[in-house]
């Protein structure tokens, strides 16, 4: 049952990509800014909890709570100081500068701080659900941390979906990205939504880092890789369609696991990116890339 186990492993990694892709595209929908630092918040969550729990000997719940509060406060501060000036200030930036540069810089900044605080070794937050991997149908194995990741992904995915589809706040959030001026005319506080979703997705990313890190382990540089894959998955959804981004994230995860298992463990990622690039070249419109460029 190698195939089944590879698919399960791929689903777990894929659900991580999927959640990051959803975070990227939901926030892009609100603010028209791509969050390239979303993976770094995950890394900060995982390494922060590890540091407080293992090095500073804090109790685990306190370590998790403190890390999430720090991530949230930092995200609020970054929005209030940097993003507000960049997007709302008298010398506001437009186009590619605002879309990429500020979160790209943020990613480097978080990595740098993490390197000083946590060093360069591989660490992981302690497993939240201890025990041997679970066996389903006598041949399929799934790690407990993987199950937690899947559960969190389903929970967060459905929460976003329900929020956007069934609340006026969710529609207002979409309106912010669709037409910021039109949103303000209707009395919608576009800045508040930008901040709310930025902080919300940063905390979600941190939670995912904490839950997932026992599977793969994190270094201060792990965030960038996760951001990149989440970003690619989001691009397949045209950056504006969280549902498609979610499916793309899952597909990339499964493809990655299958390539690693059947083709080459060493060159699996290279083949994966070659396939992803070929898909875009062959069907740019179907892959959502056209709308990613033209909005």
């Amino acid at each position: 049952m190698k195939f089944g186990n590879l698919v399960i492993a791929g689903l777990v990694t894929g659900s991580i990509y999927a959640v990051f892709a959803v975070c990227v595209s939901v926030w892009y929908r609100v603010s028209n800014i791509l969050n390239l630092a979303v993976g770094d918040f995950a890394m900060a969550g995982a390494l922060g909890v590890d540091n407080l729990y293992r090095v500073k000997s804090w109790p685990l719940p306190a370590a998790i709570a403190a890390t999430l509060v720090v991530v949230a406060v930092f995200a609020v501060a970054y929005d209030l100081v940097v993003l507000r000036l960049a997007q709302d200030g008298p010398r506001r930036q437009e186009g590619i500068v605002i879309t990429f540069f500020f979160t790209f810089a943020l990613s480097f900044f978080i990595d740098g701080v993490a390197k000083i605080l946590f060093g360069t070794d591989v660490h992981a937050a302690p497993a939240l659900w201890n025990g041997a991997s679970l066996t389903v149908l006598s041949t399929l194995h799934i790690e407990r941390a993987g199950l937690l990741v899947l559960a969190c992904a389903v929970l967060i995915g459905s929460a976003f979906w329900l929020y956007i589809r069934y609340t006026l706040g969710g529609k207002a959030m979409e309106a912010c990205g669709e037409n910021p001026l039109g949103a303000r005319i209707a009395g919608i506080d576009t800045r508040r939504y930008r901040r709310l979703i930025f902080v919300g997705t940063a905390v979600i990313a941190a939670v995912f880092g904490i839950v997932e890190s026992p599977i793969t382990g994190f270094t201060y540089l792990s965030g960038a890789t996760i951001s990149l894959t989440g970003f690619i998955a989001a691009a397949y959804g045209g950056f504006r369609k969280p549902g498609r981004a979610l499916l793309a994230g899952l597909a990339i995860g499964i493809l990655e696991a299958l390539l690693g298992g059947y083709v080459s463990a060493e060159y699996g990622d290279t083949v994966l990116y070659a396939i992803l690039a070929a898909l875009v070249l062959a069907w740019p419109r179907a892959m959502g890339f056209e709308s990613a460029v033209t909005g």
Partner: protein
């Protein structure tokens, strides 16, 4: 003695874009329930007056909405205090359905989707243009220009405005659609809403407006 405040009082309003003064020292008042046309040739500053009042652009001078002084450059304040703008070029949310566009008009007074859907203002907005009902699920960006203008007015009406300010409602519309839009604006006014219409052609505006502010070279003359 406390007389009722005017719906809108504009005192010494000036708008400048860099060194270029678009509106110079405009002063006028509009009483509750009135319909006022702001007319004048294109590029003379009439839209700038409206945007300055609504807070879409920064201005100098005082604006009071039902006696409350409006801060400069805060369109959300105006929306919360009863002045709803139906802006030039409509400013809809093209990827959202027409129904969602209209529903979001309710955002100024509720955060509950259910309350918005069952509310009087939303119902009144839907009844204003019954011909749009078959298109309510369609993305606003795929509607015709006339239908988009209808959605913009409906979104404005869903906000339950005390003052509805409409900027160039007929720009680029066919005559038959323009007439339909004006019929709807007349109905809104008859229902008791104070109306401000910015219009290049005074003839059409004056079919529904009982007074007029004419703008020439950035100078407003109340008539």
């Amino acid at each position: 003695m406390t007389a009722d405040p005017p719906a809108l009082a504009v005192r010494g309003l000036s708008v400048a874009y860099g060194d270029m003064v678009a509106v110079h020292d405009a002063t006028f008042t509009i009483a509750p329930g009135q319909a006022c046309a702001i007319t004048g040739p294109n590029g003379n500053g009439k839209s700038s007056i409206l945007m300055g009042i609504a807070g879409l652009i920064r201005r100098r001078g005082g604006v009071e909405i039902f006696g409350a002084p409006a801060p400069s450059g805060d369109v959300r304040w105006a929306a919360r205090h009863g002045l709803t703008l139906v802006p030039e070029r409509r400013q809809l949310y093209p990827g959202l359905s027409a129904a969602d566009n209209i529903l979001l008009g309710c955002y100024g007074w509720t955060r509950s989707l259910r309350r918005a859907r069952t509310s009087g203002p939303f119902g009144t907005a839907l009844d204003l243009f019954p011909e749009l009902r078959p298109h309510l699920r369609q993305s606003a960006g795929t509607l015709s220009g006339g239908q988009q203008q209808m959605v913009a007015i409906m979104r404005g009406l869903a906000a339950a405005p005390k003052i509805l300010a409409v900027d160039e409602p007929c720009l680029g519309l066919a005559e038959v659609v323009a007439r339909r839009v004006y019929d709807a604006l007349a109905a809104i006014h008859e229902a008791g809403t104070t109306l401000i219409v910015v219009e290049e052609a005074p003839k059409r505006a004056l079919t529904i407006c009982d007074r007029r502010v004419e703008v020439r070279n950035g100078v407003a003359i109340a008539r």
